[in-house]
Amino acid sequence: MPRRADIHRILVIGSGPIVIGQAAEFDYSGTQATKALREEGYEVVLINSNPATIMTDPEIADRTYIEPVTPEFVELIIEREKPDALLPTMGGQTALNVAMSLANSGVLARHGVELIGANARAIAIAEDRKQFGEAMDRIGLGVAQGGIATTLDEAMALLDVSGFPAIIRPSFTLGGTGGGIAYNRDEFEDIVRHGLAESPTSQILIERSLIGWKEFELEVMRDSHDNVVIVCSIENIDPMGVHTGDSITVAPAMTLTDREYQTMRDAAVAIIREVGVDAGGCNIQFAVNPRDGEMLVIEMNPRVSRSSALASKATGFPIARIGAKLAVGYRLDEIPNDITKTTPASFEPVLDYVVVKAPRFAFEKFAAANPMLTTQMKSVGESMSIGRTFKEAFQKSLRALETGRSGWTVGKRLQDDRLSDDSLETLRGALRQPTSERIYQVKRAFLAGLGVEELYELTAIDPWFLSQLQELIDAERAFAALPSLDAVAVRRMKQLGFSDRQLAELHGETESAARERRWALGVRPAYKMVDTCAGEFPSATPYLYGSYDEESEAPRSGRTSVIILGSGPNRIGQGVEFDYCCVRAVMALRERGYETIMINSNPETVSTDFDTSDKLYFEPLTLEDVLEIVHREQPKGVIVQLGGQTPLKLTRGLEAAGVQILGTSPDAIDMAEDRRRFEAVAREIGLIQPPNGTATSIDEALAAAESIGYPVLVRPSYVLGGRAMQIVYDPASLEQYFATAVRVSEERPVLIDSFLEDAFEVDVDALCDGTQVVIGGVMQHIEDAGIHSGDSACVLPPYLIGERDVRTMKDQTVALARALGVVGLINVQFAIKNGVVYVLEVNPRASRTIPFVSKAIGVPLASHAARVMCGESLADIGFTEEIVPPFVSVKEAVFPFNKFEGVDPVLGPEMRSTGEVMGISDSFGSAFAKAQLAAGNGMPLSGTILVTVNDSDKPSVAPIARRFHEMGFALVATQGTAKFLRARGIPVSTVYKVHEGRPNCLDMILNGDVQLLVNTPLGKHAQRDDYTMRQAAIRNHVAYTTTLSAASAASDAILALRSRSATVRSLQEWQQDIHDAVTVGA
């Protein structure tokens, strides 16, 4: 059947901001789906609040609404756009839930919008735990024993069936949010309450724990003619009990006989039919008892997912693209296999390689969080690696994580591997409880003499995987004992996936010495293609991976090529926004006729889609792996400034190896990052920096802080995302900082800056071609200085900052770009205090605000940057004057606090947000309100506001409180704040602090009597009371602010929301205003 002719306009819902469990994979899927629909001639309307994505760039959809992904806003878009159909399966759980809500409320029926890809009935069966269990029963498949509860009492009753440990799984939540494993009644009650609160239908599943069972996933697709294919099987190394997103996983399944695999395949086919996904894909999870092969169904997701993105990258079968085509009526056999071009998509990919995915965590940023891995996902990113064998892929995936390990290595210190001492008892105890470091503990255990059998007892990791790991240990020992190394010995180790760095460590030499010898011995990798068919058919798509095998397949085009280095696994501080920049660069350079070569290890991204670049190398972003590709490709040069810190860190090594770096020179990068060199530049062009110093020892640091004056901001040099950055108020705290957070040494200096309290902070992004500089955007932070720029909301163009100061910052940015000789992007951070403009930081590279600014000004800055780096001037490109848009754009950060219980949500200099949203409107209040709604921070329009602020904030809170009062809000405050406000004529009632008695402010929050919490921490030591209140607010979904500037912005937003009804407008229309206005600054 050809494409449906009865529908013309399709609404696609994106997944909103990046959160744990829902990340860049939905940019990849959504972009692919949108492109696939448009190439069929459909008109695509897209909604997504996330500006850092390729999918929300104006060229991707016909009309793009950067609006909150909520039922209310989607309804407004439906009213305005009148789409014929809605595709809900490309935007994760968020899109699915919004679509269900619109289906249930009758909005879709009223507007005649058809759900395509998955219908409401199928979504309900798959997502509603009760209906799903019944469906499995109908087709004779088992699910874990247990039952459904909608109240705590019902849950308690189910304990008789499940026993302990019990698994709690909420309905309709993403990444297992609100779920967990309970070992006792206390934990059980706690998780049940949380789960009921997180589930939009207040429904949870309580089931018997299958901890220790093997876990598998199948990716399944079905077309409207009931043809079904299995795209990929995935086996988890970590057994049941660890969320699949947190597990190291392998494709294809390694330990299933064909009989077992086919039983699972038959089950998957039956499930997709019974659930009724009639034109699309799903992911199904199974548990298998290792003792007798008993197979149970765990769950099904009737949509694209993180696993489907992984499966697409692992097999070369683009699930989202094919899913979109199926949704509009095509059959699988009518769609070509995009890799072979000659065979149809109605087949099952076969792999002649092994794929390993490893999760990346961010526990270092959430020290108070429980590090145990459970059924609720906690990782923030992942690496994927491809090798010809499991061992090769496994080691590559670990070095691709960029956590400082060169592969499967033990940490230098015990605590690096989350161990408190070196006793076997401690090790055994740790191994029983999965954490992010368990795989390294396994290595310590092998080295300590534990065998496969005992490790299986401790970890329930399948003996096959453990034996593979044991082989790595044996190989290491044999290699280390070799008196001299020949090509055979080195090649054997490389085939096992060992990096040069690992081999160097085994022989006590430097990485470069190991590499020199390997090269001298002629041991080089071969590059093989991912072709969906294990070589059975010719493939024209250069999707490549490296392996120490014989034959390289990478074709050479003879065209001038450019390598773009990607940003590796997502982490806090380096996420989808850098992938966005890399993809824009690829698009621009492809258009200019260059052969574009992408290197990246992150399977979630658009950059690793095989048709984004001319050639894709799915490889770790280490010096070794990049040098090998450069050696093979001999490019014109390498772009390092778009992928964040990952490629930037490689600059020196690449330069030393004679590789041409395109754009800003490595020396200029060093000048910006080296404190002393930068000071000289700043002095020369007359910039003011906050008093600062560099220290290479604790004593030096104390002395520097003394001369600068407290409070000071301390941080290690060369970090991204404010890692280990702290504001320190006295010498004792500074010593504490070195004791707990950071080691300081000659090689690892620490930077110390005067901390400018209550200053305004501003980010400026600009583009420079070596001579001309054009300002991209000036963004004012909503939060005060001291809060990481990635965590602060910001607004463009700035408000509340004088024209003179804005002028000064622009001039200084221009001067800096010229002085450094920037060719490409530059980001400067300023602070303004008492009429003085200070330069805080300069980054001669793409900043995380580039996608936001590009959308706000309607100019693809990263594309232009890539062209500049390849030699064009800004005049050639036609971007010569700053654009000041005639509307307001607000960016707000989104935090993972609901995943990390016990973590204080107070913001600071260390970045902790995972994603961002954008609000666009013609006023600040309205744009800020949209950004808040998009970030999930519901703004109350009436009700009660609880105010409790520290003494220094009291004068500033009074006008804000007055506004709230005048808008009709009831004000409640703790004693000190109340007294202060009353004295200024603001009516306010008093409530006890937590320790003062009952009922207190915590009771009010828990009882739902507070609609907005305005709380600022009490100086340097946030007190227990404040902390419990903020925790309660998060868990009860009560809006809260922890800075006064945010509270003031909130009052603007509430005023805007109360004054006018919400409207929606597409990005294309906003950008048209820019062209119409011809408002030119500078």
Partner: protein, 371 residues
């Protein structure tokens, strides 16, 4: 499994291409046709499938031996392949059903395993140039003896291998009290076919390939099955007469793989050797009547000439299935008689079960014919 000493070994193809690796299991020099299969699981089924008799099988899946071997998965009494080529052989296995390791299993059957080969390079070579003969032997360089052995290796074309692997005497399979009786011609039959007949309520008399039509009909079958098997269908000169003899009596006939090719030959079709065959578990086949796509298990190097429209020379036959990758004939039926066959393997093992309903279809045909 004890680690064995590394013995250098190689595979030399008849066009002179050499692949060096490590020899495990039996170290004897082996000459045979070299083919590749893309099955990702089911190595034990592949190695015991009599259709692979006389072939050195290259596994494109790179990790082989992971789940060991067990007594219930083999497709015949012992390994049938002449040799095995893999990228990596697991030193350890893990599976609740496993009772031993793959190397010992193949070694006991005198099957050599060449490990450490760039199997993707080898596969791409065979795909580009076509399958060919090869020799697998110990050592670094081919000796004169090895070259002579390769030279003496007969081509697969014209080779009747079915007579070599067929049962020497007929035997029974399944419940003796079963309602239906199937006579199965063994050209190299896979056990899963017999298991599925048993599941369908049949008893099966498995007869040698050269059993005459009269002898078969004397067994009073409700239906006759023509099995899969190795070698060139054209070389099984005795089969068409036998098949015609049975068909004339309007006994329902069902053929799989070689059985399908023999049915084609019986009614005037030609068979041809394919450049590199179909071997794997992921081939899409269209059922022409319904348009449905089946993901099928395949293992054949010869095919019935024709296309979706017709089979030249065989007006009595119509095409029921075609391969979506290359348009080759994957199924046929007789326009008048209760005879149908498929080129692929509905019994799977290894491979997907999409086509299993064909066994029900045969049962239906048997039921109708018996009245």
């Amino acid at each position: 499994m004890a680690d064995r000493a590394d013995t250098p070994g190689f595979l030399l193809l008849e066009d002179g291409t050499l692949f060096r690796g490590t020899l495990r299991g039996a170290a004897s020099t082996t000459v045979a046709e070299v083919v590749f299969t893309t099955n990702m699981s089911g190595y034990q089924e592949v190695f015991t499938d009599p259709s692979y008799s006389g072939q050195i099988v290259v596994m494109t899946a790179p990790m082989i031996g992971n789940y060991g071997v067990n007594p219930s998965d083999p497709e015949s009494g012992a390994p049938q392949v002449a040799g095995v080529v893999v990228r990596e052989l697991s030193r350890h296995y893990s599976n609740w059903r496993a009772e031993g390791d793959l190397v010992s299993y193949l070694e006991a059957a005198q099957v050599p395993i060449l490990e450490g080969i760039d199997t993707r390079r080898l596969t791409r070579h065979l795909r580009t140039v076509g399958v060919m003969r090869g020799v697998c032997a110990a050592g670094e360089e081919p000796s004169a003896e090895v070259l002579a052995a390769l030279g003496a290796c007969p081509s697969m074309e014209g080779l009747d291998l079915a007579s070599r692997v067929t049962t020497s005497a007929s035997y029974q399979w399944g419940n003796p009290q079963a309602d239906r009786h199937i006579v199965a011609y063994d050209f190299g039959i896979k056990r899963n076919i017999l298991r599925l007949f048993d599941d369908a309520g049949c008893r099966v008399t498995v007869v040698p390939a050269q059993t005459s039509a009269e002898e078969a009909l004397d067994l009073a079958p409700d239906g006759v099955f023509l099995s899969n098997g190795p070698g060139d269908p054209d070389a099984i000169a005795y089969a068409p007469d036998t098949i015609r003899g049975i068909a004339e009596r309007e006994v329902p006939i069902f053929g799989i793989c070689l059985g399908h090719q023999l049915l084609g030959l019986t009614y005037g079709a030609a068979t041809t050797k394919m450049p590199y065959g179909h071997r794997g578990g992921n081939h899409p086949v269209r059922e022409l009547e319904t348009g449905r796509i089946l993901i099928t298990s395949q293992n054949h190097g010869f095919a019935v000439e024709g296309s979706a429209e017709s089979i030249p020379g065989a007006p009595a036959l119509e095409v029921t299935h075609v391969n979506l990758n290359d348009g080759t004939v994957e199924g046929l039926r007789h326009r008048e008689l209760p005879i149908f066959a498929v080129q692929y393997h509905p019994e799977a093992a290894p491979g997907p079960h999409d086509a299993r309903p064909l066994f029900q279809q045969f049962m239906e045909s048997v039921r109708k014919s018996r009245g």
